[in-house]
Amino acid sequence: MYHWIPFWPDTAAVNGVVVNNLYIAELALSGLIMVTVVAMMVTFCVRYRDGTSTSRANLVRETWHFEIAWTIATLGLFLVLFVWGAQIYVWLYQPPPADEEVYIVGKQWMWKVEHAGGQREIDALHVPVDKTIRLVMASEDVIHSFFVPAFRIKHDVVPGTLETLWFKANKTGTFRLECTQYCGLQHATMQGEIVVMTGPDYARWLTSQGVEESLAQQGADLFRAHGCSGCHGENSAVHAPSLSGLYGTQVHLQDGSVRLADEAYLRDCILNPRSFTVAGYPPIMPDFSGQLDEGDMLKLIAYIKSLGGGQESRR
């Protein structure tokens, strides 16, 4: 795969291709700046070293022309870089409609992966090539950072909230998965691999995992076991908002605010319902913080999402 001394990392996702162009442009620009500075410095140092008879008359002193020109030139150049980088950044961090969603939980010192079909992995992630994969990530303890160098994507996973990230692999193979936020003793080993497979291979892999229930089905079990169905179920007598079709819609809350029902919202509601009482409903839902770990939470969210929803959630 590599020359014995690696110089350039793999690029295996559409995200990476886009970032590469910018990166190469910046490398070239940096090189140019360095060469200019070094060339000027060396020329002056040689030409005007002590002892040469080169004329020193007519020293340039009043300098505003030079300085203003130089300032405007660098500023213009920097603004180009800024716009270029910002455009890609916004694109990188706003997931497009996904073909597939995968749930990731970071904990000291492993990445736990749950596929929508219920397949689980640790420190490994199998994905199909040429499909948009959306990751929903949570942390059980400290801040981790999900990083796939070959895809040029990275995002911190902060406890207390859900983060999303997306990629679209364009090359099959095995790539490194890392944690880049120092997370304690074994941070260095909180690494894994991303296996990008062809569609048929991936389908085979999914079925070979011996899973009985999909993630949403496991969520449905939890939904009953924790008594959620007693109020939010189809034929419940309690006046509670219906969850079918909820995901991705705009929800009007009691305090007058409107929130998009994305994963983070669902999570907030389950853990801290009183702060998110839906307009027109009594604030009677108990608070489930402390009863669910991050894995359960993701299953419940997967179940609620499986009940259908409005337009795709966008972050």
Binding site: V19, N58, T63, V90, C183
Partner: protein
């Protein structure tokens, strides 16, 4: 004052007889420990920061040894504590205090024509507080150290880390008092104690650099103080204002931390910029190019440095719009830095350049700062930062700025002012060799880390996949060269104190007020307050003459 005494004059000058030098005026230990003389306090600080430089350096040496092979040498826990203590000690106990507390302390009063800083007792207290915080951090280190990284990110530092995090955080908190006292002293001194005729636009750029850095210290440090205080409270009682279990925000710590720590990067670099601006005109025998532009650049860096902190947090889960804003501001702050590089380079044009050791360090400073700067541009670019954040690329980038540039400037300043501080010349050939060795060793150590970073090697890892060993080995090899280059000056400068040639008042034929005194200077600097007639850097390369700040023309 004689106008024709240059390098290598005999020891007994007329002025030396009238008042003994600050080194010999009193000889008891108490006269050092309770001194209010800014020059002595500068030397006390010099001893302290040098000690911490080598403690932090020892930790770095262990780290590079460990990383020479993927199997490593240290236990993971030991490695983690080493990089944490390396970061804490180098940032707060060397880089931030280094140039201000030593050369700033020594030369600010002399450069502005004052007999001392405004508050000599506060100055001394600052040294004691610094050492107190140093003791606390050494306690933390000796007891096993903290293992959170110097950034203390919560909730790792508040809940999960074992180690002596509380002691380390308290050390940083206490250290802040020392920073603030020193900075306050400089701001007040520069405003109130300037000699007659020393207008703002006649101040040497080193004074401007120290002024800018003092403003930043005064306005940034309190936020860090509050941040570490809250961290200590949370660590101590188990609940606090960064506690995600109670709906608090883990990223708030990062906001407040970087509100200080990004300006802190400029705290480290602004004095070095001042040093480079001092050294280059002296050895190029030419006025600095664009003095006014340089002062504007210094001050605008100081102010803009407060608008960019969240560029450390582009991937941390902040609002993407916020990310875009901070990226834009980061490009803005790069502009004055670019101006400075340009001006330093052009300051060589039509000079009469000699390559004494301070000049070598200064030129090295400019080159390393430029490379650190352009890689900083890459990190400021949002999409590229998403990839490079948290990798060795970042490590390499900030070491180019903080070690490459700042430490070069520190050594440059040390050599440049050594004759003034000790009255002795250092051995030139040794010094030049050390400077070149440092430049080579530094690049060998840190350039490979750019490549490693882009390959995806995460920072703060005690191990890595075998295919990256060649680069890591190169880096470790460079580090050993660097270590020698840092130790060498200790030897030959130490030697020169006793056996070096006498320097005379102005061996470099420099124009600043500090060179108008004998070397070493008498206790009260100036027998009578100098009257300033001119700006600094009035060198004429054509005739090889210069006019000092009191307006006296010195012929070749």
């Amino acid at each position: 004052m004689s106008t024709t005494t240059f390098g290598g004059v005999p020891a007994d000058e007329p002025t030396a007889a009238t008042e003994p030098s600050y080194l010999t005026s009193e000889n008891t230990i108490a006269s050092w420990l309770f001194t209010r003389d800014h020059k002595r306090i500068a030397l006390l600080f010099f001893a302290s920061v040098t000690f911490f430089f080598f403690v932090g350096g020892a930790a770095a040496t262990l780290m590079r040894l460990n990383l020479a092979a993927p199997e490593g040498l240290l236990q993971p826990a030991v490695y983690n504590r080493m990089f944490t203590m390396h970061g804490i000690i180098m940032v707060w106990f060397f880089l931030i205090p280094s140039i201000p507390t030593t050369f700033g302390n020594f030369f600010i009063p002399m450069m502005i024509g004052a007999r001392d800083l405004a508050f000599p007792r506060v100055n001394l207290l600052s040294w004691y507080v610094f050492n107190l915080s140093g003791l606390v951090v050494l306690f933390s280190l000796i007891m096993g150290g903290a293992d959170t990284g110097w950034t203390f990110y919560v909730p790792l530092s508040t809940v999960y880390a074992n180690g002596y995090v509380l002691a380390a955080a308290l050390a940083v908190f206490i250290n802040g008092f020392s920073s603030i006292m020193t900075a306050l002293n400089f701001v007040v001194t520069i405003h109130k104690m300037r000699a007659p005729g020393m207008t703002w636009m006649r101040l040497p750029l080193f004074v401007w650099g120290i002024y800018a850095v003092s403003v930043v210290m005064l306005t940034a440090t309190p936020v860090l103080a509050m941040d570490t205080f809250l961290l200590a409270v949370e660590r101590f009682i188990g609940i606090g204002l960064f506690d995600v279990r109670h709906g608090a925000d883990a990223i708030l710590w990062q906001h407040m931390f970087w509100f200080y720590s990004h300006p802190a990067v400029y705290i480290m670099i602004l004095p070095s910029m001042g040093v480079a601006s001092e050294i280059i005109p002296v050895y190029a025998r030419r006025p600095i190019f664009g003095y006014a532009g340089m002062t504007i650049a210094l001050m605008s860096i100081a102010i803009l440095s407060f608008f960019v902190w969240a560029h450390h947090m582009f991937v941390a889960g902040i609002s993407i719009y916020s990310g875009v804003f901070f990226s834009l501001m980061t490009f803005f702050v790069a502009v004055p830095s670019a101006i400075k590089v340009f001006n330093w380079t052009v300051s060589l044009h039509k000079g009469r350049i000699s390559f004494d050791a301070p000049m070598l360090y200064a030129l090295g400073f400019v080159l390393l700062f430029t490379l650190g700067g352009v890689t900083g541009l890459m990190l400021a670019t949002l999409a590229v930062d998403v990839d490079l954040h948290g990798t060795y690329f970042v490590i390499a980038h900030f070491h180019y700025i903080m070690v490459g540039a700042t430490v070069s400037a520190f050594f440059g300043a040390l050599h440049y002012w050594w004759p003034k501080m000790t009255g002795r010349l250092y051995p030139e050939m040794w010094a030049r060799s050390a400077a070149i060795l440092m430049y080579v060793g530094f690049n060998l150590t840190f350039f490979p880390q750019f490549v490693l970073g882009y390959l995806g090697m995460p920072r703060r890892s005690y191990t890595y996949p075998p295919e990256w060993q060649s680069w890591n080995l190169l880096s470790s090899a460079g580090a050993s060269i660097l270590a020698i280059a840092y130790l060498l000056p200790l030897l030959y400068l130490g030697w020169s104190i006793f056996w070096g040639r006498k320097a005379g008042p102005n061996p470099w034929r420099a124009s600043g007020l500090e060179w108008a005194t004998p070397s070493p200077p008498p206790k009260h600097n100036f027998e009578e307050t100098p009257v300033v007639a001119l700006g600094p850097y009035s060198y004429d390369p054509e005739n090889d003459t210069f006019i000092d700040q009191e307006g006296v023309l010195h012929a070749r």
